[in-house]
Symmetry: C3
Subunit: 206 residues, 3 copies
């Protein structure tokens, strides 16, 4: 039940991020809808294809289409002024990866994958929608930009399996994982934290 709510929250966050990027590119109404749709369902679809869970969920359950359509309409109506777009985009994208990382891990556990592969599946679930969004909109995929992105998903995933060992409620472990991913991502963007430079000695040797 809580996972369904997490799924709805993640979907809404990714739809908003998709609408922002698509409107920034001046796509028409349908283009905005498609980008929002692909951003929201892309990660979960790849996850379900990889583990062989078909037909994919959003084809069977109208809830996703309804939520996406409603959120697209609201996002377009309530759009804020352009200068806030970049900041808000990071915020909603980060919220989305938080929820989707957890959902990917949970799905991996449900089909008996090992913890390492659950974390990989969580990272794929969280990042693929944004990657497709950026490729279709001709942006450098968010996963390759300077700041920590997939690393936040991985660190959240590791935390999930550590926290699960503690004698606490499963729901708290879930929520902690979501917050850790979002927190690391926002913190990395705010302080421009990136992975160590592997080119320094490389360049020096030229």
């Amino acid at each position: 039940m809580m996972h369904f709510i997490f799924d709805v929250m993640g979907t809404i966050a990714f739809v908003i991020s998709g609408v922002m990027v698509a409107m920034d590119k001046k796509l028409d109404l349908f283009g905005v809808f498609i980008i929002a749709f692909v951003t929201a369902v892309g990660g979960g679809t790849l996850r379900d294809l990889l583990i062989g869970s078909t037909p994919v969920l959003w084809l069977q359950d109208h809830t996703y289409l309804n939520i996406i359509t409603g959120t697209v309409i609201l996002s377009i109506l309530l759009r804020s002024k352009k200068k806030y777009v970049r900041t808000s985009l990071f915020l909603f994208d980060s919220i989305g990866i938080g929820f989707y990382t957890l959902l990917g891990i949970a799905k991996g556990l449900s089909v008996g994958l090992s913890p390492v592969m659950c974390i990989a599946l969580g990272t794929i679930t969280a990042s693929f929608g944004g990657v497709i969004r950026d490729i279709l909109c001709n942006e450098i995929p968010v996963i390759f930009r300077k700041e920590i992105y997939a690393t936040a998903c991985i660190m959240g995933g590791v935390s999930f399996f550590l926290i699960r060992e503690l004698p606490i409620n499963e729901l708290y472990a879930d929520i902690a994982t979501i917050l850790i991913v979002i927190g690391i991502r926002l913190w990395a963007v705010k302080y421009k934290i990136s992975l160590p430079n592997i080119y320094r000695s490389f360049n020096a040797s030229e």
Copy 2:
């Protein structure tokens, strides 16, 4: 049986559209073949993956490969002069989405999807091949260009479910759907019809 003929017609139309875009990009013989192949089978492949119908049909039935190979060879031999390319491209691409929209809807019905999801599946089947073709050829995906594209598939799909309620032969409903999609698409391109602009008030508020 008729669906098989529709599939062959759609495949031929998409192959021709793929050859045109690929030759416009001066790809070599094999590049032209690959783009034609991907354009023709891309939409159906994604549809079959999403609903879990594997191995995908073209791996099991040589008819597709034969038709694609034959059409590529004929298209290259009979290619018209370059100035007609753009017009013909729109024509063949539109014929392709007409047939594939219907086939996607039919496949959705056969696995028990709701009408709304059948229409979504039809739209994906019709548009994905062209999207891949354009991404591989470094063009803006046709689905994001100004004129109505996916909207034509959706309107055709809605018509399909309305016409089916009438006391007419199923075959006529199928053919009507195909013609509606092609008609809307050609009409939109001819008169440069596009979706309403959602940026006017947005820009005014800046």
Copy 3:
């Protein structure tokens, strides 16, 4: 057993090619890892999705992740000077397509596909990882560059089915196939062999 060794060899070769392209693009550590990973598992993943063999192997068997991680680390530590990158890239990419062509054919045979479709599956397995690598790194996909690429896989595949008819050990047929693909590819790059130009008469008619 030998197929597992071939798989490991192909994986290592593709990881090195992925690291080279990603480092050439100055991606950060994680970006380099992702490109290497996608290059190595992309072809096999698409193959398994198309034939419906899920969950895909690398989600179930940690060997792949371990080999990829180890090879990425070694490649970064042992990276050669930049001027050798282009040559080495061709070498490792060619080794990779040799092994993966054979593995794709073998997988196709194991699910009962016809020889023609086995060769198609082998070509897809061999080329898709490199195509994704190049799209993500914003390079023209290797398959569309001037020299023979997929054609080498196809010729290797045809050879495989011819050699199999001979009264020799199956292992030798496998190794011969791998060497034929690698040989044709290296030979085509060295002597800049490309497919016949299909535009000459086309241009003349303008």
